[in-house]
């Protein structure tokens, strides 16, 4: 066999044993899916951050709360409210509803509003942290899977060496090389996943704490409103 032909990447993958090929396929899939998650999460988180800053600017510019609520109505009907705005809408809906009943005490109104915001908050948390566990899993497990494929391949190649009369480096080198492809793929899948996981979990934490701060501030405004009237 031509040495150059044998050592091309495809040649190596084709010559690998079935198990090693399966491992490679698994790692390739993991890499593809984790990149899908990375891109999707990145887009979502950057959009959420932008939405947060624009909404906060709008909120603190002294606009009327009723008007702010009405502005978001169209988007809410299409089901596209996100992040801090959905927090605001949940709180404000509950607040006006309780106030219109007229019989609740100010404490009960505040309690109901805060509860509604907590529910919305936990829903947001779910959305923000979605898919992050998958990235963590890929980041920590795929090097091991790759290593497993490599160890298996090297095992086979040494077993083949044992039956040879003349053991030269050329008889084991292709086997080891093809086995090492698995480790390379594992690392290739793991490194971006770990980086993305660290970055996105920090970002998610920051987003959630800003949401919480906003919820507190908003409830203090409502509190003032309740006790003023």
């Amino acid at each position: 066999m031509n040495a150059g032909e044998q050592l091309s990447l495809w040649g190596l993958i084709q010559n690998a044993s079935l198990l090693v090929q399966l491992v490679m396929l698994l790692l390739l899939l993991a890499s593809v899916v984790s990149w899908v998650m990375i891109i999707q999460r990145g887009l979502y988180l950057s959009r959420a951050k932008k939405a947060l800053t624009t909404f906060e600017r709008r909120f603190w510019s002294g606009a009327d709360l009723n008007q702010l609520f009405r502005e978001g109505n169209a988007r809410a009907e299409r089901g596209r409210t996100d992040g801090v705005e959905s927090l605001f809408r949940a709180g404000f809906t509950e607040f006006t509803r309780l106030r219109q009943q007229g019989r609740s005490s100010p404490e009960a109104v505040m309690e109901g509003t805060e509860r509604a915001m907590r529910v919305a908050m936990s829903r947001e948390q779910e959305k923000v942290e979605m898919n992050l566990p998958f990235l963590a899993t890929v980041g920590s497990v795929s090097p091991y899977i790759g290593l497993f494929g490599t160890v298996w391949g090297i095992m086979n190649s040494f077993r083949g060496l044992a039956t040879m009369h003349q053991a030269t480096i050329a008889t084991v080198a292709p086997g080891i090389s093809e086995a090492l492809v698995a480790t390379a793929m594992g690392l290739f899948a793991a490194i971006p996943a770990v980086m993305a996981y660290n970055r996105y979990s920090a970002k998610a934490e920051w987003l959630l704490s800003s949401y919480e701060t906003f919820a507190e501030e908003f409830s203090s405004i409502l509190h003032r409103k309740v006790h003023a009237s």
């Binding site: 050592l7 890499s31 990149w35 998650m37 990375i38 999707q40 887009l43 979502y44």
Partner: protein, 254 residues
């Protein structure tokens, strides 16, 4: 948030990314040396006369007929000259070309001849080498055979010496009968000392077996063995370190 549509773009990007990566790896990652292209031996050059290259300018219409005729005459002359020059150049070029070709062919032939000679020489050398190596092998084999014969002789003499030494101190027990055979395995160390002695095949008479073992232990050190171990360690390791001896009860008066 609309889930399905938010995944569409990432999926496309990710698939594109991996496809690109695989393509790059499979086309760019090969352990092959770049082939050396044979360089052309000479550059083909063409001689072009300067006149032929310059575009002919259309002569501006002249009013003066004579002047025009003269001009035409001149023009014709110039053309004829240029033609002559061109033809000469062509001739020359052809000649040069032919010469060059001839030279190149000659060089090629020379190279081929040399190549053939080299190959022939290599083949001869190879044959010579093979013959040489076959001869050497045969020689080696014979030497080995001789050596082995010598070795067996040495071992035999050592074994005999050991046996004599043991038999000199051996006293047959009263229950021993003529024809009884005991096989003993003795382990030596290079100093000639016995480290272990075992019965391999018993005679059936326990007293006789014990008597043989006692005799071996009584002698304890065999100087012959030490000598062999000093002079030919390999032989000692191979043949004498574990020695089996056969003792046959003979010459007893019944």
């Amino acid at each position: 948030m609309n889930n399905a549509s938010s995944y569409f773009l990432p999926v496309v990007i990710s698939l594109l990314f991996h496809g690109l990566l695989i393509a790059v790896l499979s086309f760019g990652w090969e352990a092959r040396e770049p082939e050396r292209k044979p360089m052309p031996q000479f550059v083909q050059a063409k001689l072009i006369s300067a006149e032929a290259l310059t575009p002919k300018k259309a002569a501006p219409p002249k009013v003066d007929l004579r002047e025009q005729r003269r001009q035409r005459e001149l023009e014709r002359q110039r053309k004829a000259e240029a033609e002559k020059k061109r033809r000469a150049a062509l001739e020359r070029k052809k000649k040069e070309e032919a010469e060059r070709k001839k030279k190149a062919e000659e060089a090629q032939r020379e190279k081929e001849r040399k190549e053939r000679e080299r190959k022939e020489k290599e083949r001869r050398e190879q044959l010579e080498r093979e013959r040489q190596s076959a001869f050497e092998e045969a020689l080696e084999e014979e030497e080995e055979l001789l050596e082995a014969r010598e070795d067996t002789q040495a071992v035999m003499s050592v074994a005999q010496a050991i046996q004599q030494r043991i038999e000199s101190v051996l006293s047959w027990p009263p229950s021993a009968r003529n024809g009884m055979v005991t096989e003993v395995k003795i382990n030596f160390v290079p100093t000639g000392r016995v480290v272990a002695a075992n019965i391999v095949k018993s005679s059936g008479n326990a007293a006789l077996d014990r008597a043989v073992l006692t005799a071996v232990r009584k002698v304890e050190v065999f100087p012959e063995v030490a000598e062999v171990a000093r002079e030919e360690p390999a032989l000692f390791e191979r043949q004498i370190r574990t020695t089996q001896l056969i003792f046959r009860v003979e010459g007893l008066r019944q």
